[in-house]
């Protein structure tokens, strides 16, 4: 659960490109056709088994579909919970690794030193997704988010958030440095 600070606004939420989820769905659909293909093959080469062992085949198929469904959703959780949230004050990088490992890192938006993007390969170029790297001045220097859709646009938005945060910080600094009235003079 992400807890935002009182005056913090979420400005950008980044997830991996939809093509990654579509690839998982396509693979799961293909694997779901496995029992159908197996029954078709049995009908062709061993029809006696279908007649006598249909209950066993149905049981095996139900276990297979249950395992496939759970494995598919474990992958969906991994995809769904990999997210970068850019707010007015910080960037929160959440990476889910499997079901029982979750890494959350955040850095102040003012610590951003460099933002770069890398798009490698035919499919990423066609569908415009790639790696977004942010160099910071913190303990962990580099943050990477892979398979980001439209990474150049994301880079521009992060830099715009940084500029806005710098402006706010300067304004706040100027206001606090104003001379105070002393004794009505």
């Amino acid at each position: 659960m992400i807890q935002l600070r009182p005056h913090e606004e979420p400005l950008l939420v980044l997830r991996r490109h939809w093509l990654i989820a579509a690839a998982y769905i396509a693979l799961a659909t293909l694997l779901a056709l496995g029992p159908v293909a197996a029954v078709a093959a049995l009908q062709q080469f061993w029809p006696a088994l279908l007649g006598g062992g249909v209950q066993l085949i149905a049981f095996a198929a139900s276990l297979y579909y249950l395992a496939l469904w759970l494995a598919f959703f474990a992958v969906v959780v991994d995809y769904y919970l990999d997210v970068w949230i850019v707010t007015s004050e910080r960037v929160i990088a959440i990476e889910q690794k499997g079901l029982f490992r979750r890494e959350i890192a955040e850095f102040n938006i003012l610590k951003v030193q460099d933002v770069s993007t890398h798009i490698n390969g035919l499919v990423p170029t066609l569908f415009d997704f790639g790696e977004l790297q942010v160099q910071t001045a913190g303990e962990e220097e580099k943050f990477c988010f892979k398979q980001v859709p439209n990474p150049n646009h994301a880079k521009q938005q992060i830099l715009a958030c940084y500029e806005a945060a710098v402006q706010r910080a300067r304004q706040h600094h100027d206001e606090t440095m104003l001379p105070q009235n002393v004794g009505g003079l």
Binding site: V13, G53, Q55, A58, L66, I85
Partner: protein, 76 residues
């Protein structure tokens, strides 16, 4: 034969239920405002319940005590 099959099936079912609970917990806990986490969690829970019910029903339909005879009949 039925007893052995039931014990093995219960182990498999327990593992499946644990995995389903972990996945459902993730969907229901890590909700980011504005997303479809609740929809996905509902779909997942309903479909998992249906698949577990069908696995149990199909397990009960298998003639476990007559299985050896069934395979003896089927082999040439």
């Amino acid at each position: 034969m039925f007893l052995i099959a039931a014990i093995i099936f219960l182990f498999i079912l327990a593992a499946a239920l644990a995995a389903a609970a972990a996945i459902a917990w993730h969907f229901l806990t890590y909700r980011i405002p504005g997303d479809l986490g609740v929809w996905l969690a509902s779909l997942f829970l309903v479909a998992t319940a249906v698949l577990i019910a069908s696995a149990i029903a199909s397990f009960m339909a298998v003639p476990w005590d007559n299985l050896a005879e069934l395979f003896a009949h089927l082999t040439p």
